[in-house]
């Protein structure tokens, strides 16, 4: 076969995720083989391409070699496409399945097909042609060498036409004639998309892989494929989005002392992972965060796996966290999900849809680890990391919990795989001491925050969640009754110290009063002494004056006697 030397250009399929994987869609003027086993979604995929094209104003022709076109349309009627509106305007459906009994005598070719295609192409400006179930034509018989020839004829027909051909073919080990035929097609065609289906336990799941795309970069990974009311969706195939710029704003955790411990709370837009065994208060911490966020006016989406909203409300009320008013105000939305109800990839898709519809500022997923119990691919596609990446890309402050069950093989190391994308990791646990089981919490990590690495007791009471003071005792931190005993001892010691201080104060005050009295007495004594001294001085001055006066009188008498003599 001679390959086209013209530059490869592509036509978008507009199937969510596929155009990202194929970097633009399927080749214009080229043929793509869409192969897969029965029920893998080939026909839906092909029809969706045409429905999407019709919505965009492009024309498509669907030749149904396997099913009646009416059946194809009926199957599609359960989807949200409203495909009927495009019929005979942009979408042309043709029954190509031979009717009645069919036999073969010698060689045949696709001359009839090309004649019909030409007639249609002359009539309408076709962008897409789907040959659905081309294997049915081959099933009539004929030798394999002619596959090359017929493909060449189809390529010749396509030359100079801006038409993209999508050819679906069933791949089944039960039908021997096809293996050689499909091998020929695979060898000759430059673009091959493979759909497959499998059972994951009791669940049926589908996959898509771009097996070949000659001349084009593409994602070659096999990815999960979902068929829902929107048709085919590839949930993990959306291109990565740059996260919003990191915020320095802190938002409350809902626990005052935890806020203090984390320098004011979680960073807005950050992801927090809370891990712990059953009953360690993961949900309580998550709900405290949700309640605090709603109270300050943030929109909160609380995704609860396997616990009803009413149960969450009731349980949180018992520890003083009232969610009811926030639910009524609409600032808090609880979305209940059942982990066993869907494939992991379906959960992923529906959670992303919830984000689209609710546009939350804050998010709780409790527990995110429930996804690993859903059927389908979870671990191999790093589903949880993908989800958390979505949250962060949207700037949503999220708190997700992860259940650790040592009995079934999950421990902190498995959570650690998840934690790489989390900014803060709070590890909850039980401390068993003296026959007591007490809840504890430690901050394993908190990016951008200086924090204590001490284990603290987490105390739940009817007035909320509290972190107890840390009392180190040797290598342990006292908790529960031991902590209470220690607290009582400390309190008693404090009380005694206060009593001693009060007594000392009283003694000092008495001494002060005594001193003041003595001071007063001494001052009075001093005043008396001063008065006496002043009186004495006065007396002295008077006596000196008298003496001086007396001396002056004697002197004058003598003078008079001398004068008389």
């Amino acid at each position: 076969m001679v390959e086209q030397t013209t530059q490869l250009t592509k036509r978008p399929t507009r199937i969510a995720g596929f155009d990202a994987m194929s970097q633009g869609g399927l080749p214009r003027g080229g043929i793509t083989l869409l192969q897969g086993d029965a029920g893998a979604g080939k026909t839906i995929f092909a029809l969706q391409v045409l429905a999407n094209a019709a919505e965009a104003g492009e024309n498509g022709l669907f030749l149904a070699f396997e099913e009646r076109s009416a059946d194809v349309l009926r199957n599609a009627s359960s989807l949200d496409w409203n495909i009927e509106q495009y019929l005979e305007r942009h979408l042309f459906m043709i029954d190509a399945r031979p009717s009645g009994e069919v036999e073969v005598s010698g060689q045949f070719d696709i001359g009839g097909l090309l004649a019909v295609l030409s007639a249609m192409a002359d009539k309408v400006d076709l962008s897409w042609v789907v040959l659905d179930g081309i294997d049915q034509l081959v099933a009539l018989g004929g030798d394999l060498q002619r596959v090359d020839t017929e493909l060449l004829r189809l390529r010749d027909w396509l030359r100079g036409r801006d038409i993209t051909v999508l050819m679906t073919a069933k791949e089944s080990p039960d039908i021997g004639y096809q293996s050689g035929y499909l091998d020929r097609l695979r060898f000759e065609l430059s673009t091959i998309v493979t759909l497959s289906s499998q059972h994951d336990g009791h669940r049926f799941s589908r996959r898509l892989r771009i097996a070949k795309y000659r001349g084009s970069a593409h994602v070659a990974d096999e990815v999960p494929l979902l068929i829902g009311t929107r048709g085919v969706v590839l949930p993990y195939s959306s291109p990565p989005v740059d996260p919003v710029p990191a915020s320095s704003e802190r938002v409350s955790t809902g626990v005052e002392r935890l806020d203090t411990l984390l320098g004011g709370g979680y960073f807005r837009g950050s992801a927090t992972l809370i891990t712990g065994a059953p009953g360690t208060s993961k949900s309580s911490l998550a709900a405290a965060f949700a309640a605090a966020a709603a109270a300050r006016g943030d929109k909160v989406l609380y995704i609860s796996f396997d616990e009803a909203a009413s149960q969450i409300q009731r349980n949180m009320r018992s520890i003083g966290i009232e969610l009811g008013p926030h639910l009524e105000s609409g600032r808090l939305v609880i979305a209940e999900r059942r982990s066993w109800q869907s494939l992991a990839e379906a959960h992923f898709l529906e959670i992303v849809e919830l984000l689209d519809s609710e546009q939350p500022d804050c998010l709780v997923v409790d527990p995110l680890s429930a996804l690993s119990k859903a059927g389908g691919e979870c671990r191999s596609y790093n589903l949880i990391e993908r989800l958390m990446d979505k949250f962060k890309a949207r700037g949503i402050t999220c708190v997700v919990t992860s259940l650790i069950e040592p009995e079934v093989g999950t421990d902190e190391s498995s959570a650690a795989q998840v934690s790489t994308i989390a900014d803060t990791w709070l590890a909850l646990n039980y401390q068993i001491h003296d026959g007591e089981r007490n809840r504890s919490m430690s901050v394993v990590k908190s990016r951008g925050t200086a924090h204590s690495n001490q284990v603290r007791e987490l105390v739940l009471s009817s007035d909320g969640i509290h972190l107890a003071d840390v009392y180190a005792f040797g290598s342990e931190v006292l908790m529960g009754t031991a902590r209470l005993d220690h607290e009582h001892a400390v309190a008693r010691e404090r009380e005694l110290a206060q009593q001693r201080q009060a007594q000392r104060r009283r003694q000092l005050q008495q001494q002060l009063r005594d001193l003041r009295t003595r001071t007063s007495e001494l001052e009075e004594e001093l005043e008396g002494e001063t008065a006496l001294l002043a009186a004495d001085q006065h007396q002295d001055r008077r006596l000196r004056d008298e003496i001086r006066d007396s001396r002056q009188g004697t002197d004058r008498a003598g003078d008079r006697r001398e004068h008389k003599q």
Binding site: E101, G106, D109, G111, A115, G142
Partner: protein, 103 residues
């Protein structure tokens, strides 16, 4: 156009893609056995899909050559250049009977 094989809606049609080698072989191979059934070319409607694609569409004929026989609700098809004489005779005998009696 279609040739009625007697009363009702019974018809024998040979769909061809112009004058391609396969079409020529089919026409020739069919002609060589029609006489055995007391028939000639006039009993067959020849449809050139290149000029009458709508007919191919109506009859869901996408592979050529194709010999189609329709009667009432029944339709049987023989694809190929009719070079397998045994298959061709089997097809025609299914319609006209082993004696080659015209229906």
């Amino acid at each position: 156009m279609m040739t009625e094989l007697g009363a009702g809606t019974r018809r024998l049609m040979l769909f061809l893609a112009g004058d391609s080698p396969g079409s020529r072989r089919a026409r020739s191979n069919l002609a060589s056995v029609l006489g055995d059934y007391d028939l000639d070319d006039s009993a067959v409607t020849f449809v050139n899909v290149l000029t009458e694609p709508v007919m191919a569409l109506d009859m869901c004929v996408f592979a050529t050559p194709a010999l189609i026989y329709g009667a009432d609700e029944t339709e049987i098809s023989l694809y190929g250049d009719l070079s397998d004489a045994e298959a061709l005779r089997g097809f025609l005998e299914g319609i006209f009977g082993a004696t080659g009696q015209r229906p």
